[in-house]
Symmetry: C2
């Protein structure tokens, strides 16, 4: 039976990426060797890294604008640390928007480096909205925000204007919608949603913001070192980078971010329309802040849970249990999830209504 | 044509591991889902992580001895930083043995944390031997060494006795030979030699040495946090951990470390015997310190280079060009390299002698 994989991450990737990655483990580029056993310094892998770095900038429309793309390791959680190490001045200050678990994690790491101002937080309402009216101190070294909050199902639809560098954790919605990416000075994202398998982290950074802290930065955490070594300061996560490149190429072939954005909007509209229409369900998030990636919703009546759970499982759906912080359900609709899969879920919701 | 892959790392893994990994990308555990698209919190992957962590301790004979095994990210280069963060006291001191490029990298990161004593170095002779007569300050917080030096082809055959915690970078020879691993308090290793593909780092640590520095440790770099979260503090490198487990299971089936050690000794003896016998070649390393993993050697006469290079390429050998710091050749004979492949290289060396 066809599976409809709503996992919040690591998550579904395009089927053709799985097929190509699987082949390359047996025979990469007709070399007779596995992608897993070649040197990261081999001509073939250096070409993969170069193409992946260039394609990221191309897809984000950041070519020739002073940005560098890096494929690092350690996930967004290591970036929580690298950002203050690289950007917060000695005795400096940083501004953070608190929109959930990941933003809080970033704030926690920053606090060890200097004054960390939380410009606004939606913690008071279990992060079910994005704070909008706040001011960003212009004497901070940078402003940090999280574009999409997987756990709570919120997404920033606009970003504040400020004169200080803007840093954004886009782990769960990068490459999913058109934005003016040049408004950001540093973007980071764990690969495991829209870019590839778990195991590599994308960092896109405007070079001119680096090297200004007066702080001693450990080599392995220093973006300038990684840039100087063309993202090969140490052995990269070869397979994760390769599979990310396959996914980025799939996206380009599809028509890039503007093309996937239309598909993502169609999926989100289909599901949210049903959540709002169907009297058995309710969304958990303020409508204007709803994420197109992660739709969080509850049953109005818990008595329906057993039946609903058995119905969606029977339909081949997996991964829609909500995070324990919110409960209910979370349908993650990343780039590679087909519209058909959303239709299957919506049909099950309609069916439940009929049977109740 | 069969390839003989002597890559220094990432390197050859067992063929059955490639086959199983390739299949799991299309259908993991008959789930209908790819190993790349499942949640790291799924029952199936949690089982992988638990089995891998337990099997590491079993193979190293460290079960029930107070050790924890972790699968982290960032390579040995991030451990260079995590070690002083977790073990060097405020105003503390650490002792390092300098046996090459990687040891130097570790020393560089440690220096930012406190007094870093280099107890001995073989830099004077381009690291072609392992220093032996040195004393380790007993008031240091730990002693750090590198068991095998891939670039220079040296390997520590014995380890000093000391009362302070011993930390060892075993990236390039872990699981290759029998040692009393309980003499080490912290062992780390990038996966990409004897354990799996690039993208995960193994850390084996005796819990009792942690939590004693009085230093604020960033969460993502704190071994105690990773232990508390059972190696899932953040999303692990799912595929790299899974493929490492496949490789560890292959090793166990083969008979464990004592079994592979015999094979590795046979391979090293075969090649070093030829290097010493064949008048066209010479080794670069003091005989008693030669690595069983990486054999470094030179041609006595550079005029033979062109012919030799064409001959080994024709025989299906790849990856034996030496590192630029040493020149000549480096034959890396990690666990998964078959004895047959070494025989092919030795035959080519003999053939060169005949043709010269």
């Amino acid at each position: 039976m066809k599976k409809h994989n709503y996992s919040a991450g690591p998550c579904i990737l395009p089927q053709e990426v799985f097929e190509e990655a699987s082949k390359s483990i047996l025979n990469f580029n007709e070399s007779g060797l596995s992608i897993l056993e070649i040197s990261h310094r081999s001509k073939d892998f250096v070409a993969v890294m170069e193409e992946a770095r260039a394609l990221v900038l191309e897809l984000l429309n950041l070519e020739g604008k002073g940005y560098q793309a890096l494929f690092l390791q350690g996930g967004a959680s290591l970036e929580f640390l690298m950002v203050p190490y690289n950007l917060m001045k000695t005795n400096g200050k940083a501004a953070y928007l608190d929109t959930g678990t990941w933003a809080s994690g970033a704030i926690k790491e920053a606090k060890a480096f200097g004054e960390t101002v939380i410009v606004a937080s939606s913690k008071d309402a279990n992060y079910n909205y994005i704070p909008k009216d706040y001011s960003i101190p212009t004497d901070a070294d940078y402003f940090h925000c999280t574009s999409n909050n997987t756990i709570f199902g919120t997404q920033m639809k606009s970003f504040p204007n400020t004169t200080i560098p803007v840093v954004c954790d886009m782990s769960s919605d990068i490459f999913s919608r058109s934005l003016d990416f040049s408004k950001f000075d540093l973007i980071y994202a764990g690969a495991q949603k829209n870019m590839g398998p778990a195991g590599t982290t994308l960092v896109v950074v405007k070079e001119e913001i680096l090297g200004k802290t007066g702080r001693a930065i450990p080599n392995i955490l220093n973006y300038e070192q990684h840039i100087a070594k063309e993202s090969m300061y140490n052995t990269p996560a070869v397979f994760a980078v390769y599979t990310s490149l396959l996914t980025l190429k799939w996206l380009k072939k599809l028509g890039g971010i503007s093309a996937i954005e239309k598909i993502n909007e169609a999926k989100a509209n289909l599901l949210y329309t049903e959540i709002d229409r169907n009297p058995l369900f309710k969304g958990t998030v303020l409508k204007e802040d709803r994420s197109a990636m992660n739709a969080t919703f509850l049953l109005e009546n818990q008595d329906h849970q057993e039946l609903f759970d058995s119905m969606w499982k029977k339909a081949g759906i997996s991964g829609i249990n909500g995070h324990r912080s919110v409960g209910g359900y979370r349908a993650s609709m990343y780039n590679a999830l087909p519209l058909d899969s959303v239709q299957v879920l919506v049909d099950v919701m309609k069916e439940l209504e009929k049977n109740s």
